[in-house]
Amino acid sequence: MTTSELRRKLIVFTCFVVTAITLVPVVMMVLVAFQSDAESMAAKPSFWPSSWHPENLTRAFELVPLGKYLLNTIYFAAGTTLLETATAALAAYAFARLNFPGRSWLFGIYLATLMIPSQVTLIPQFVLVAKLQGIDTWPGMILPHAFTAIGVFLLRQFFLGIPRDYEEAARLDGANRWQAFVRVIVPLAVPAIATLAVFKFIGQWNNLLWPLVISNSDATRTASVGLQVFQDTNGTQWNLLLMAATVTTVPLIVLFFLTQRWFIRGITMSGLGGR
């Protein structure tokens, strides 16, 4: 049994080493964020802070309105997520359960847009928003990214897997379609809806290109764009730059740990359910 014991220890050891290496960039981001100005900008970078400077946090907030950027990011991510999940759930229900003329070809149009990269729609969306005076406004930021086909597609797949009997029972009790949807389908689909919501939220929190072209003031500037501005205006003042990076990343990391059940389910669903 000694060889298998040795093998087990070797595996655990490798896991620790690989995980430690993987986390180095994230750990360094936090460590440098607390270094002094001189230390972080010295010609020879230092790894462990020789003195800790928690005041870097307030200094970073004073240089750029990071709080405002974070709030904007939440607006943007939450707005697109709420709109997308709500409208996608409704449409997916109709595609999965209701008969109407044109259902197949309409769903076909949704599917056809799945493979089209977002850069194709970037310029027309920008033109549309510009013509409607939506540059640097919340409708202009949110609406173009709240109606993608992927949500409808994923939720329809899930709804098709819910046995019809549950709904039929509610219908026999006199519930109309809306009531059946709200009371039967939505509660059963919470895992799927939560998965879609978590993915959409994290994806939009990360979105750089769209806010970069649409938002041009602090009114709608998100954290990703704000960090880019920070880099432009403050150069490589490493401690403050990485403090700003830490401040914008930590909420997302916390969210990830809180929702990872759905996050991981979402990844595996898309990977293995997509057959």
Binding site: V120, T121, V127, H145, W178, A245, T246, T248, F256, Q260
Partner: protein, 315 residues
């Protein structure tokens, strides 16, 4: 898939003179309900997704800077691509990025999934921690990677120094800027594949391995003959999504190198962004975006053709 079309009840009773309604009342009501459910999504989808796709085709045929009235350009925007060195350089860079980063990401993901699947006690903890880079903001971690790549005595070169290697100038080096971006991108994205592969590995029935062991097959043989075929749908999925994703790489290249040095790390999406929003050449940018789309369609079609030969689906 239950894409059953409505029964052809609609056509039959139209000859009936007394009843002008072709469909039974309940069927009309169901249609009405369906449209009410779809409408919020449909309006947004047509305005902001489907409509813009068609508009992209139209804009690509125009000479337009957004400020003055557009003029008809025909296929001139597409013809401009041929002699445009930046476009070819962007295409080459994107291909380079994809060809190196996708196999690397798949290898790292697969290796870590196999490692985590060795009957470890706290798999979930390691899985979460290893997935962390995937759940960070690209722009934010791109800054840390610039810091890691500081030429003299930066962390990466300091570690290389332990092994007696004098590291290159990374992000400002013609040769090493792209590999540096690739390493960062592999780090950022391997978690996705790892989670998919781990789920795939956990779904493989253990009896298969036990039967193979009874037959005296080696570890490599059971990997080759059991693990790989059983994992092939997951592998295929991750390869397709990784290639599509890496063809659209933008964030880290914008932040870490801004496309430089020269155009060494200018990617297709970055060039589209520059053309459309720095040079305000919207027609040309739209043409480029359609070419990007064309490449994605071609690659995906090629993959699905190969899939028939290589991927094992058990039903």
């Amino acid at each position: 898939m239950a894409v059953d079309t409505a029964p052809p009840a609609a056509a039959a009773p139209t000859t009936n003179t007394t009843n002008s309604k072709p469909t039974p009342r309940w069927r009309n009501r169901e249609s009405l309900t369906a449209w009410l459910f779809i409408l919020p999504s449909l309006i947004g989808f047509l305005s902001f997704t489907a409509g813009p796709v068609i508009a992209a085709g139209v804009i690509s045929l125009l000479d337009w800077n957004l400020f003055s009235a557009p003029t008809w350009a025909g296929l001139r925007n597409f013809a401009r691509l041929g002699p445009d060195p930046t476009f070819w350089s962007a295409l080459g860079n994107t291909a380079y990025f994809t060809l190196v980063s996708v196999p690397l990401t798949i290898l790292v993901s697969l290796a870590l999934a196999l490692l985590l699947n060795q009957g470890l006690k706290r798999v979930a903890v390691f899985r979460s921690l290893l997935l962390l880079p995937y759940a960070t903001i690209t722009v934010a971690v791109a800054f840390v990677w610039i810091w890691l790549y500081i030429p003299h005595d930066g962390l990466v070169n300091a570690v290389l120094g332990w092994f007696g290697i004098s590291g290159p100038q990374w992000l400002i080096s013609d040769t090493w800027a792209m590999p540096a971006l690739i390493a960062m991108s592999v780090w950022k994205s391997f978690g996705f594949g790892m989670v998919v592969f781990l789920a795939g590995l956990q779904a493989i029935p253990q009896q298969l391995y036990e039967a193979a062991r009874v037959d005296g097959t080696s570890t490599w043989q059971s990997f080759r003959n059991i693990t790989l075929p059983m994992l092939s749908p997951a592998l295929f999925f991750v390869i397709v999504t990784s290639i599509i994703g890496s063809f659209q790489v933008f964030d880290q290249a914008l932040i870490m190198t801004n496309g430089g040095p020269g155009t060494r790390t200018t990617t297709l999406v970055m060039y589209i962004y520059r053309t459309g929003f720095e040079n305000y050449d919207q027609g040309y940018a739209a043409a480029q975006s359609l070419v990007l789309f064309g490449f994605i369609v071609l690659i995906t079609a090629a993959q699905f053709t190969m899939q028939r030969k290589l991927v094992h689906y058990d039903n």
